[in-house]
Symmetry: C2
Amino acid sequence: MAVSEDDIIASYFAPLAGPGALGLRDDAACLTPPPDCDLVLTADAIVAGVHFFPDDPPESIARKALRVNVSDLAAKGADPLGFLLTFAIDEHVSADWIARFARALGEDAAQFNCPLLGGDTVRTPGPLMFSVTALGAVPTGRMAARTGARPGDYLYVSGFIGDAALGLHARMGDRPWVGRLTDTSRAYLIDRYLHPQPRLALAHALRDHASGAMDVSDGLAGDLAKMMRASGAGARVDLARVPLSDAVRAAVRMESALLETALTGGDDYEILASVPPERAVAFEHAARAVGVHTARIGVVTEDAASGAVFLDANGAPRTFARGSYSHF
Amino acid sequence: MAVSEDDIIASYFAPLAGPGALGLRDDAACLTPPPDCDLVLTADAIVAGVHFFPDDPPESIARKALRVNVSDLAAKGADPLGFLLTFAIDEHVSADWIARFARALGEDAAQFNCPLLGGDTVRTPGPLMFSVTALGAVPTGRMAARTGARPGDYLYVSGFIGDAALGLHARMGDRPWVGRLTDTSRAYLIDRYLHPQPRLALAHALRDHASGAMDVSDGLAGDLAKMMRASGAGARVDLARVPLSDAVRAAVRMESALLETALTGGDDYEILASVPPERAVAFEHAARAVGVHTARIGVVTEDAASGAVFLDANGAPRTFARGSYSHF
């Protein structure tokens, strides 16, 4: 490719730069932090063939790279301040591909009020890789931590669980049930896999009312277990209360084992939160006010030894062969 | 490799974590920014086969990954606050390799007072890649910018120029002159290539006295030209004043063309600064006080059209076939 690093930056990424980015012409960005705030910092990378398909549209790859990080900021109750991008491409990537990637990234950055602050563009002989570091701010001392769940707290999740895990199969077309879905359901699930929807609108409700929170990226079952371990607590979840989309329900009716896929598969990018009972009404009200659907799925218990227990309609515990999803 | 992502983080990286990193057990780090400061943010990645050799010692790779970023903070006059690391490894990397990488990274983090705040560990089918985002702080409004050089300012560089560019050849052993160096010179140059020395001690002198600064990573000639373009100015440099180590002088005596390699090759990680004449004594004094050697190599001019001009002992301009080094 004839495009130089300086050309890529000037042509495609400089237009995305926030005020602190100094037009991407300096060694570093310069940002005055908001007063009386803590900084929230997160980094997540995506690798072709591991976290996305090399032939996914560049727009989808760009959105996933940024959104998986914005999702972490949202889960911590933070307002985005901006992000840095390390952009590792091989020699086959065309200027048109980069232009499409950058345009979609810019649209997302504007949508999430999370401007590009800087980064690095490197050449790799290996798979495409995009590493994002995102910064956000919360009022001092108010970050929603993974460690904050307390026995008696209610457990909530946003959106629907399992769409992306089934969407991955829909994207690959590698299972018979995929062909029996309606076109609409298949398209919905693939979109949910390709385009995480960070629940940024929920950030203020979380920092105002939640005792603890995290984003669900490695499957609800495993991530809930992680949050309970970090909090020194247990959890009891009513399986019937876990919110499933019509598309997932349809798939589970065809193959009941897909319920486990939905609960243990990755890439939901929904929010899991613990909320003290006395804050539950206020939390639900705040979530509704910003248009984010939340479902109360269970309760935090003192039984740390049992971890996260999922109960079926008969009150019997359901165990999963695979605890959580790992891209690693 | 049987080591899981969680094991890697808990065993090798959690011990490096700073107070804001929450033991690397949360989705994000939480950091209270120092009062009355701007944040300085920089990201640089290194890729095996591009920025380092796959068989370089893991200690050297770790140090390079962090130091190229600390060098940017130093050039901006910033005190480090911490860093996030994206660690992309293939299945052949052993637990011992990771342990050695992490130990060296921890030593450097302690030396530079730049704790690990977070990051991501991903599996790649491609080359090893390490992407660091570093954060620093400067008193509000005091970041040393690349755009600040003004006609009449003196130009300084720290340390020696060209060691790493010649060290790369010494590392590869691909040139006849390498064999004619003394063992000491060869070892010195290789060490300078493998182990950048960020001039962090110079940070306060820069923010107190320099009008502009950047770190020299893509060759003095090209980086000086970049800084002058960013500042809308020109530069005149006395070639004889460019500081060269005894090892580089010895190599240039064998092959005079190596002077151009030294001035246009990459990986110096020295500081280039413009200092108003009335601050020059104070700047030199401050640099000496922290033990960083600086050399006054020239002056900023109004002749932006001519860019960075290097003059030989007879006052004749010297041009270089290759403007600057690019890993890209």
